[in-house]
């Protein structure tokens, strides 16, 4: 049932979903994947995931791209639309092919508005939660989010996202056992710390100088 028509991409995804039967069909499925992709994905990867041929996926990608840009409406509506003789307006997002990978971005024309929204509420300082999470990652790297959560006793998902966005940490592959994404500190972190490598981080010892005043320092410092 779920075998693709021509030239199946080498492996079956095992999902067992007949995408053609789903509302919106293969195009909507492709759209669903594109919406949650963090990193650009190649047509080959997308085809493998959707269990479609690369050619079919490439065609749909171009269709979607044109549709988002306002040159056309969605395929099922195409006939009626072209009969009616109208062109759709562009959407607020666009599908871009960057260095062989496809990803959805906010449309460039709205950069000012989006930029203002991004900057809203942004601070130049890390919160105490972010600092502590960074400290745990720095001293336990490479480490998974689950592990950091366990150490900190709270969920650290959004804080990890902030730290990544700030370029202080990055992913460093997956744990071979659990498959969990691991995080480590970046060279930007070292730069900000003024050290050459993580080996230069001070040893953790029971009594560290300067511990007393640090609370107030951070409390005063943030926000």
């Amino acid at each position: 049932m779920r075998k693709p028509v021509q030239e199946p991409s080498s492996e079956d995804t095992g999902g067992g979903t007949d995408i053609a039967a789903l509302p919106g069909g293969a195009r909507a499925a492709l759209e669903a994947v594109l919406m949650i992709l963090d990193q650009p994905a190649s047509a080959t990867d997308l085809a493998a995931g959707l269990n479609l041929t690369v050619a079919a996926v490439e065609e749909m990608l171009l269709e979607l791209q044109r549709e988002y840009d306002g040159y056309t409406v969605k395929a099922p509506d195409m006939e009626i639309a072209s009969n009616a003789g109208f062109t759709s307006t562009p959407r607020g997002f666009e599908l871009r092919n960057v260095a062989g990978g496809w990803r959805i971005y906010s449309r460039a024309e709205f950069a000012d508005i989006v930029g203002a929204f991004v900057l809203e509420g942004q601070t130049a300082r890390l919160t105490q939660a972010a600092l502590e999470t960074l400290a745990v990652i720095a001293y336990r790297q490479p480490v998974s989010r689950a592990r950091v959560s366990a150490i900190r006793g709270v969920n650290v998902d959004s804080v990890v996202r902030t730290l990544t966005q700030r370029g202080l940490i990055e992913d460093s592959g997956t744990d071979p056992e659990s498959g969990a994404l691991l995080y480590r500190t970046t060279s930007y972190f070292l730069e900000r710390m003024g050290i050459g490598s993580v080996a230069e981080l001070p040893q953790l010892s029971p009594h560290l100088p300067g511990l007393e005043g640090i609370e107030e320092f951070y409390d005063a410092g943030r926000m």
């Binding site: 991004v118 700030r166 003024g194 300067g210």
Partner: protein
């Protein structure tokens, strides 16, 4: 909220409720990764209400009407089996089970007796115990049902993936430059705090501070005995000079009374409220502190 996904609890999560109510627990269960012995593992039952509900549903009884006596035996049997397997129980878990087992037994016993009129306090207490058990059981059942609803909703919702992509580079570049003032030492101190194992907040109110450290009258008596046996009379003031707390002073005073009763010491007081001098009057090893044990050892 999806009401249709609310499977009746009787069909949910009770798969381990086998034919025999006394089925031995399957080790591991839902809480397999947890600290061993922390959760009571009776097949998949977590806790006495879970077990009781399982038994009631097995007999297809309605909680509100059931004579719990019917399931009492099985409940007790279950606990016995658990004990046989040598499972370690934490005190609070065991007590929850025992409280309910005891209530069930009470109810069963009441049913076996000829039906009489409710008149004495015991009967009323029994009725209250039963109502309380029913109420708690119904409440637990309600939460179990909504837990199944939560489960279904969470599972359904997990099929929707939120868009949460990294900020596009040109936007990320707009973010204000990070203010960073920490020296490596300060950062290390931060790590030190963050990595320190968090001690779980206590669930019980500590009572230790309500009692001073136990002071044994017997020990104090031995101490006084040793000092006085040097041969020289000592004032009470001198005897308590090194007492570190009022409690020790009191213990030494009590010890002296004991010694006086045993006629091994004598008191001299030259003037009212004057210094009390204590003399050892017994000879050698005529006296021992052994018999003091019974009276003073069992302190609260």
């Amino acid at each position: 909220m999806t009401a249709e996904s609310a499977a009746p609890f009787a069909q949910r999560g009770q798969q381990a409720d086998a034919d025999d109510g006394g089925t031995p627990p399957e080790a591991g269960g839902a809480q397999g990764a947890k600290k061993p012995g922390f959760e009571v593992r009776l097949a998949n039952f977590t806790g006495p209400f879970d077990l009781l509900l399982g038994l009631i549903s097995k007999h297809q009884l309605d909680i509100t009407e059931v004579a719990l006596a019917t399931v009492t035996d099985e409940f007790i049997k279950y606990i016995r089996n658990l004990q046989k397997l040598g499972e370690e129980w934490a005190l609070d878990e065991a007590s929850e089970f025992l409280v309910i087992a005891a209530t069930l037994l009470d109810l069963k016993a009441a049913r076996l007796l000829p039906a009489g009129e409710v008149e004495d306090d015991d009967d009323i207490a029994l009725l209250e115990a039963r109502d309380l058990l029913f109420a708690r059981l119904l409440q637990y059942k309600a939460f179990k049902q909504v837990a199944a609803l939560l489960d279904a909703t969470l599972e359904l919702e997990a099929r929707r993936y939120p868009r949460q992509v990294a900020l596009e580079e040109h936007f990320a570049a707009m973010l204000p430059e990070l203010v960073w003032k920490h020296t490596p030492q300060q950062f290390a101190a931060l790590a030190d705090t963050a990595l320190k194992p968090k001690t779980a907040a206590p669930t019980e109110v500590g009572l230790a501070h309500l009692h001073g450290s136990p002071v044994s009258v017997k020990e104090q008596a031995e101490l006084i005995g040793l000092r006085l046996q040097q041969g020289r009379p000592l004032s009470f003031r001198a005897l308590i000079a090194d007492a570190e707390s009022t409690l020790v002073v009191v213990a030494r005073f009590l010890a002296l009374l004991e010694l006086f009763r045993d006629q091994v010491v004598a008191f001299d007081q030259l003037a009212p409220l004057g210094d009390l001098t204590v003399r050892w009057t017994a000879s050698g090893d005529e006296w021992s502190s052994d018999h003091l044990t019974e009276e003073y050892e069992e302190q609260p």
